[in-house]
């Protein structure tokens, strides 16, 4: 009995160095933010006023909130889907033992390693409307110049381009690993049976790499909900709110308008979206993913 108790407490001892910070900086704040979302507070006044569901009802009648929700959705779809498709396409291109593929991999992966703030500054220069590289290239293709970051119709596209530039090479490396692990005898057998490349891709490769696709789509979705650096450097949510995601709106209402209650309710919405998506993906994963 005593031995058992000792074993138990020793295990607790081993988990504490990680558990204490997790409780203080993650689990605690998670509970705290739910509480804050029911209050009205400005960081300064000594009391936090309990207002019940007011913040939520305000949020749900606020057109800015719906706009941000829409931007978040567009940003999510616009970053996750092209990253997955692009990453897979690049991995397929690279899979057939190409000469110097190591160099290609290095070049394609390098954006992921570099600080988002620094590369976003460089991209702001590329998107400069008057003398920027982006408009020069459009000119070569005979397209008239675009205002990019200054144009509410294009700013999100510009931010997405940078986001994709950063993540496609990263996704590619995941797919390269998955493709390398494909059973070659299965693909050969299919070839002997007269299957063409598209058939093989659709009915063998795609199902077999589905765990990777599944994993990437979850991670990329969470990443898209967290995107901040490139938006802060390039557009600060503008012009006219066209790049203000929910996370950016949360940041602005907390640290620019000092509206803690409203900000917390936005954060709770973000967390709920994550919980919902993980739940859905968990169920989907069980049905659709082949291990």
């Amino acid at each position: 009995m005593r031995l058992k108790l000792w074993r138990e407490s020793e295990a607790v001892l081993f988990t504490l160095p990680a558990l204490i910070p997790l409780l203080i900086f993650w689990l605690g704040p998670l509970g705290y933010i739910v509480y804050l979302s029911f209050t009205d507070w400005d960081f300064m006044s000594p009391d936090k006023l309990f207002v019940g569901l007011d913040n939520y009802s305000y949020l749900l009648t606020n057109s800015e909130f719906y706009r941000s929700l829409k931007v978040t959705l567009l940003f999510g779809l616009g970053s996750v889907i092209p990253t997955i498709v692009g990453g897979l396409a690049l991995a397929m291109l690279m899979n057939s033992r190409i000469k110097s593929s190591g160099i290609f991999r290095t070049l394609l992966f390098s954006p992921w390693v570099t600080p988002t703030v620094a590369v976003s500054i460089a991209w702001s220069w590329i998107f400069e409307p008057e003398v920027g590289l982006a408009n020069l290239m459009l000119g070569w293709a005979g397209v008239s110049p675009i205002g990019w970051l200054r144009d509410a119709d294009w700013a999100l596209v510009a931010v997405l381009i940078v986001t994709l530039w950063k993540s496609i090479g990263w996704a590619m490396v995941f797919y390269l690993v998955a493709l390398r692990n494909l059973p070659s005898d299965l693909l050969e057998a299919a070839s002997i049976d007269g299957a063409n490349s598209w058939d093989k891709f659709r009915s063998i490769t795609l199902p077999l790499i589905s765990p990777t696709t599944f994993f990437l789509s979850i991670i990329l979705t969470i990443q898209s909900l967290q995107a901040y650096d490139q938006i802060n450097v390039m557009t600060q949510g503008g012009p006219a709110g066209s790049t203000r995601t929910l996370l950016y709106m949360y940041y602005q209402s907390a640290f620019e308008s000092f509206n803690v209650g409203e900000a917390s309710s936005i954060a709770v919405v973000i967390i709920l979206i994550c919980v919902l998506l993980s739940g859905v993906s968990f169920l989907l994963g069980r049905r659709l993913v082949h291990y």
Partner: protein, 271 residues
């Protein structure tokens, strides 16, 4: 052959923004505002790089970031390996709960709790200090994952053999298991270092003192204030270039290890 060309074009296109950043940093102010832009500067103005380096304390910023990132790595090595050891080689009641807690932690974006974490740090009087920055980042669910993944590969018999010899769990962890999974620790340290060196949002929120700023925040304030929002583009691009340089060099030397992280993380979803 077509594949090869296509890949070459895409790979060079991906690297091009880096080239553009470095090369534009050398241009004169007149040349950078010229349209169409030049792909090779007429004269190389090395002084842009020197000016930018002195216009803001970039050496200090880079040192700040490196130091903070290394301290965070050190803490994460210790607590991730202890937690991972408990989760893989010890028996205790809360094991299942802890494992699922960490799985859920992976799903919920930490940025969403920045506001309450900020308040917690301010309660602890740790705002505007490296202690606050390091302590609040000293655990990463991702690192625990990575190390747990590696520890699961280590046979349990090895641990039992150690116990029969009378070794304590600490001893088994540091002298038997850790050396076996060195490469996973290398992956963890590199990924954590890169992530922390590049970290921007959280450090920017909690450190207001300019001397304490990390490199991303320092660069950003140079972009906004010192660079007068885009009036001194050559210097701004030069500054961006030397912010990026340490990481690109690190990446060139350690890319095999960094790419390995994919092998390990990809395994996460199978458990």
């Amino acid at each position: 052959m077509i594949r090869y060309l296509l890949l070459a074009v895409i790979a060079l296109g991906t690297a091009f923004p880096f080239y553009w950043m470095v090369i534009s940093g050398f241009k004169t102010n007149d040349e950078i505002w010229q349209f169409p832009p030049t792909f090779w500067p007429e004269t190389f103005l090395w002084s842009n790089y020197v000016d930018a380096w002195h216009a803001a304390p970039f050496a200090r910023y880079i040192l700040n970031s490196t130091g903070v990132a290394l301290a965070i790595c050190l803490f994460q090595i210790v607590n991730s390996s202890m937690m991972a050891y408990a989760l893989t080689h010890m028996k205790f009641r809360l094991k299942g709960v802890l494992t699922s807690l960490i799985l859920v932690g992976y799903m919920i974006p930490s940025t969403a709790v920045y506001l309450p974490s900020y308040l917690v740090l301010s309660e602890l009087n740790l705002l505007d200090s490296y202690t606050g920055l390091i302590v609040s980042n000293c655990v990463s669910v991702f690192s625990i994952f990575l190390i747990r993944q590696a520890f699961m590969q280590v046979s349990h018999e090895l641990v039992e053999a150690g116990q029969l010899d009378g070794a304590s769990h600490f001893r088994i962890l540091w002298t038997i298991i850790t050396p076996l999974v060195r490469s996973s620790f290398a992956v963890m340290v590199l990924i954590t270092f890169i992530e922390q060196y590049n970290n921007y949002f959280w450090p920017m929120l909690i450190t207001k003192d300019p001397d304490l700023q990390l490199v991303s925040a320092g660069l950003r304030s140079f972009f906004v204030e010192g660079g007068a929002y885009g009036l001194a583009w050559p210097q701004i691009l030069a500054a961006s270039a030397f912010t990026i340089a340490p990481l690109l060099i690190l990446f060139l030397f350690t890319q095999k290890t960094i790419m390995q992280s994919v092998n390990i993380t990809a395994g996460v979803n199978k458990n």
